[in-house]
């Protein structure tokens, strides 16, 4: 565990320093977690909601954090779960039946005023949306964030081998989509 994380955790345990330490934690991780969430839910407003929920959950569960994994890993895991919970609840709430959330997410992306990608970027996002949920997260973490498989393995609680295979399949599917769709 990084020294900065150790310091934050020690201060979080003390009643007097807890609030200040939590603010430090938020400042340290808000941007990284935001981009991780944003790549899953795509829309800014949704990402903002999910990020707030993530930190609220972190605050409520501080006493339950056993430090078996790193702080960074724990936060990413909560953010990932919150993002998936958001997508699934949106799917359930939708009036129109959805087999998967890709259509809703693509519409969300196109209508998002904070998406400024060009045609090829939109096509890439469309290709990524064809991937199954978990494969999509693996692809985003590896391709965009260039995260190590070992770290990803802790966050997603999946073996490194399975993650490598998942990324490989994801890349092939994205490539196929980019080739076939003009």
């Amino acid at each position: 565990m990084e020294n900065a994380d150790r310091e934050i955790l020690d201060k979080l345990k003390e009643e007097k320093t807890r609030n200040l330490a939590f603010q430090t934690l938020v400042k340290t991780y808000q941007e990284r977690l935001y981009w991780h969430i944003r790549k899953i839910v795509l829309n800014h407003d949704d990402a903002d909601d999910v990020l707030q929920n993530t930190f609220l959950k972190v605050w409520r569960n501080l006493d339950n954090f056993r430090e078996e994994s790193g702080l960074y890993t724990w936060l990413y895991r909560i953010a990932t779960n919150e993002s998936l919970t958001f997508i699934n609840s949106t799917k359930k709430r939708s009036i129109i039946p959805m087999n998967d959330a890709s259509e809703f997410l693509l519409n969300n992306l196109v209508s998002d005023e904070f998406f400024e990608g060009d045609e090829i970027q939109l096509k890439l996002q469309e290709a990524i949306l064809t991937l199954p949920e978990k494969q999509r997260i693996v692809f985003n973490l590896k391709y965009f964030e260039e995260m190590k498989y070992e770290t990803m393995s802790e966050i997603l609680e999946t073996s490194v081998g399975a993650l490598k295979a998942s990324f490989h399949h994801a890349v092939k599917k994205v490539e196929e989509h980019l080739k076939t769709r003009d």
């Binding site: 935001y34 990020l51 609220l56 904070f114 970027q121």
Partner: protein, 154 residues
């Protein structure tokens, strides 16, 4: 270029052509304001007075719910039945009485006055009618024409 990227270029040339850039942006000062907005939510959550539920009520809640359900069903089904049924019975009683009255009245209309008073004066027990009684009844109730036409058919 690391081996992973080389591998990617080999298996996904189209993907490798796309410039790896962030197509998303955030509103101005979003990250500067985020922690303050979150703090407002946290303060609201911390200041919220937790509603302490009475333990007995908590345990009795399912039973109370069930009882309330029964009471609701009872009031919805029994009460309208109770209030509506007597009226319906009264109406049918009235109907029955009026039908029997009408039958009685029509039976009385068919009997001549002498026979009617005779019936009232006589005791209700079954008596054997004598030949004289039968002859009197025929004389007063049946015309000669009816007697001859009956005899002709037999």
């Amino acid at each position: 270029m690391n081996t992973e990227m080389k591998e990617l270029e080999k298996i996904a040339p189209e993907l490798s052509k796309i410039k790896k850039e962030n197509p998303f942006r955030v509103p101005e000062n979003y990250f500067d304001d985020f922690s303050a907005r979150l703090q407002v939510k946290l303060d609201a959550e911390q200041n919220a007075v937790p509603v302490k539920k009475n333990n007995i009520i908590r345990y009795l809640k399912p039973a109370i719910g069930l009882a309330a359900g029964f009471a609701l069903v009872f009031s919805l089904a029994y009460w309208p039945l109770k209030t509506l049924t007597p009226n319906q019975t009264a109406e049918s009683d009235v109907q029955e009485i009026s039908v029997s009255d009408m039958l009685f009245a029509s039976a009385v209309e068919g009997i001549d006055v002498n026979s009617f008073y005779e019936l009232l004066e006589k005791p209700a027990e079954n008596e054997q009618l004598s030949d004289e009684d039968l002859a009197n009844y025929v004389n007063t109730n049946v015309s000669e024409y009816e007697i001859y036409s009956q005899a002709a058919t037999q």
